[in-house]
């Protein structure tokens, strides 16, 4: 019996020839990523209690993204602790206020196919777009990794999502994953690997692939995965990394999959997930006309360069509706710089968008831009749990950057296909 891509990576990390779903194995970790919220402030006391040192500081990446920029004494203290811990422990890979961890990691060339990576954040499956087995862990698990360089996992099976056909203009990876959340539910991933295959995937940019693997978390998967190809290799080289030998990191032809779901991309239109679950997703027409007070383009899921380009295609030459605030928080400082150079930021701000600092921001209710009681927001982020973005009675609809931008112009949830490139 052949192995899936995930099984090959796990077997390599477990120093085994092969592994089977259900087995518990101990894996050597190639890279451990932490952020300011779940990182040093939580692992420091554990390391002190154990009187232990970090196993390999070169394999640690720390990013500040949750509490940046500091808005009060508590968030400032958390950032201060993070900086001091990184300095004291000699963390060379420390990215302070440079962007959101899941975007910074590949942007700075830290990921390559075949790696076994843990991240101290639930959207860690994002890294799977680069052919890594990457999953999220809590602070105690992370401390265990920092001390031992290892972690146990129950080998997951792989659920294949086979996506074929060309997406219509104004429809994006976000619409694919919202469709899948509605179809499979938040438990549909069953803490297995969700691997995306098919010609649609081959044609997608790395940014769009990252949206799919990022929200494998919302399918309840342990990891999202896309087999590496020339697009992956080119992106890694551009980031200053080395892609290595790609031919190794593919599933065998006779590998066994737990399930396969087919998606016809040509049939997909824009999707919107209603409060309070990504699984409440439906075609945009079902919610068109819903009044909004805030539109948010931000977070690891929805504020990468291509996401900003999508928003700009809708917003250029138009204006945000009266009574609506459009907040945009680019996912990294490099993205902000590129979007400034290529004219995207001016298209957004001239339309009335308010540019926010880079960081996780309002997505998890940590930063600026949170919602008041009963307010309605449409957001390009990944989660719309009750109270996540602010007051308990606030309501969040999830959608693509196209749809968020279109809704900001109309003042109500709207189909972006009617509003691309200055069409009226």
């Amino acid at each position: 019996m052949g192995l899936t891509l995930a099984e090959k990576i796990i077997a390599r990390a477990a120093r085994r020839d092969s592994v089977s779903p259900g087995e518990i194995v101990t894996c050597a970790v190639d890279l451990a990523m932490m952020h300011d919220s779940g990182g040093p402030r939580r692992v420091k006391p554990i390391l002190e209690r154990l009187n232990a040192k970090v196993w390999d500081i070169e394999k640690v990446v720390v990013v500040t993204d949750h509490y940046v920029p500091a808005v009060d004494a508590e968030s400032a203290a958390i950032l201060d602790l993070t900086r001091k811990w990184c300095a004291k422990n000699g963390v060379g890979n420390f990215y302070d206020m440079q962007g959101i961890c899941h975007v910074v990691l590949p942007e700075r060339g830290h990921l390559r196919p075949g790696m076994f990576v843990v991240g101290g954040d639930s959207h860690s499956p994002t890294g799977g777009a680069f052919g890594c087995f990457m999953f999220g862990v809590g602070a105690t698990d992370m401390a265990g990794v920092l001390v031992t360089g290892e972690i146990w996992i129950r080998v997951p099976g792989t659920i294949r999502i086979d996506i074929n056909g060309t997406l219509a203009d104004g429809v994006s990876a976000k619409d694919i994953i919202l469709h899948l959340c509605g179809r499979l539910g938040m438990g549909g991933g069953a803490y297995q690997v969700v691997q995306y295959t098919g010609d649609t995937i081959v044609g997608l940019s790395m940014t769009e692939r990252m949206t799919l693997t990022n929200m494998a978390a919302e399918l309840g998967a342990q990891a999202g995965l896309i087999a590496p190809d020339e697009t992956t290799a080119a992106n890694i080289r551009d980031a200053g990394g080395s892609p290595g030998d790609l031919s190794v990191w593919h599933g065998d032809a006779d590998a066994s999959y737990r399930a396969t779901h087919a998606v016809d991309a040509t049939q997909l239109g824009p999707h919107v997930a209603a409060p309070h679950s990504p699984a409440n997703s439906a075609p945009v027409a079902d919610h068109a006309g819903q009044a909004i007070q805030q539109a948010y383009i931000g977070a690891c899921t929805g504020a990468k360069l291509e996401d900003l380009h999508m928003a700009a295609r809708v917003l250029k030459g138009r204006g945000v509706a009266s009574g609506v605030r459009l907040l945009i928080a680019p996912a990294s400082t490099r993205i902000t710089a590129t979007a400034a150079a290529d004219g995207t930021l001016s298209a957004l701000t001239e339309a009335g968008a308010i540019l926010m600092p880079t960081g996780c921001g309002a997505c998890a209710g940590f930063g600026a831009g949170v919602l008041a009681e009963d307010e309605v927001c449409i957001s390009s982020t990944a989660r719309n749990f009750k109270g996540r973005m602010g007051a308990p009675s606030s309501r969040v609809y999830l959608a693509s950057p196209y749809t968020v931008a279109a809704s900001a112009i109309v003042g109500r949830i709207a189909d972006p296909r009617d509003l691309l490139d200055g069409n009226t």
Binding site: I24, L50, D141, G144, G220
Partner: protein, 171 residues
């Protein structure tokens, strides 16, 4: 290796997420304050009424969402000893075991009612409902995880292992 817990049951439904267990707005403040708001969006009285040793029985996807360990820690801090659910969010399940709580999957979770007194044997995979005089199957925890929970979680477990290996080094 045995791990048997007994307690009074609180019942919750499907899709109880980490933002409900550990609301984001309290994440940077004192942990005790965060714990006081655990589950308040679905049951405002839970945190003040839950007692030491109590058991949570829930439906599908308990603890889905964020990796924030505070979601599990808040429950432990409030005294919850054991979690039984139809299914768990994957990261939350690891976190619960790592902080030393018993967490078991059971397709019979729906048969347990609020206030029931139950005993969970995580080693054999048997739940005894003393109130309804019934017994159900649950997934047993594998020995290595049971050993960790028995030690009180991953940190004391590592502490024990590190002490043992230091002794070996000296010897």
């Amino acid at each position: 290796m045995r791990k048997i817990t007994t307690g009074k049951v609180w019942v919750f439904g499907d899709d109880i997420d980490t933002d409900v267990l550990a609301p984001g707005i309290y994440m940077k403040g004192p942990f005790e304050e965060l714990a006081r708001h655990c589950l308040e969006a679905v049951d405002p009285d839970f945190a003040s009424n839950v007692a030491h040793g109590d058991v949570i029985v829930a439906g599908a996807n308990f603890g889905i969402g964020s990796s924030r360990e505070q979601a599990a820690q808040a429950l432990k801090h409030l005294g919850v000893s054991t979690l039984v659910a139809t299914s768990f969010g994957g990261i939350f399940f690891r976190n619960a075991l790592n902080v030393g709580m018993v967490a078991v999957v059971s397709s019979n979770a729906h048969r347990i009612a609020p206030g029931d007194n139950i005993t969970v044997d995580a080693a054999t995979g048997i739940i005894k409902n003393h109130t309804q005089n019934e017994a159900y199957a649950c997934d047993a925890l594998p020995p290595q995880l049971l050993a960790m929970v028995q030690d009180g979680g991953l940190v004391p477990h590592l502490e024990k292992k590190l002490t043992q290996s230091n002794k070996k080094d000296v010897g």
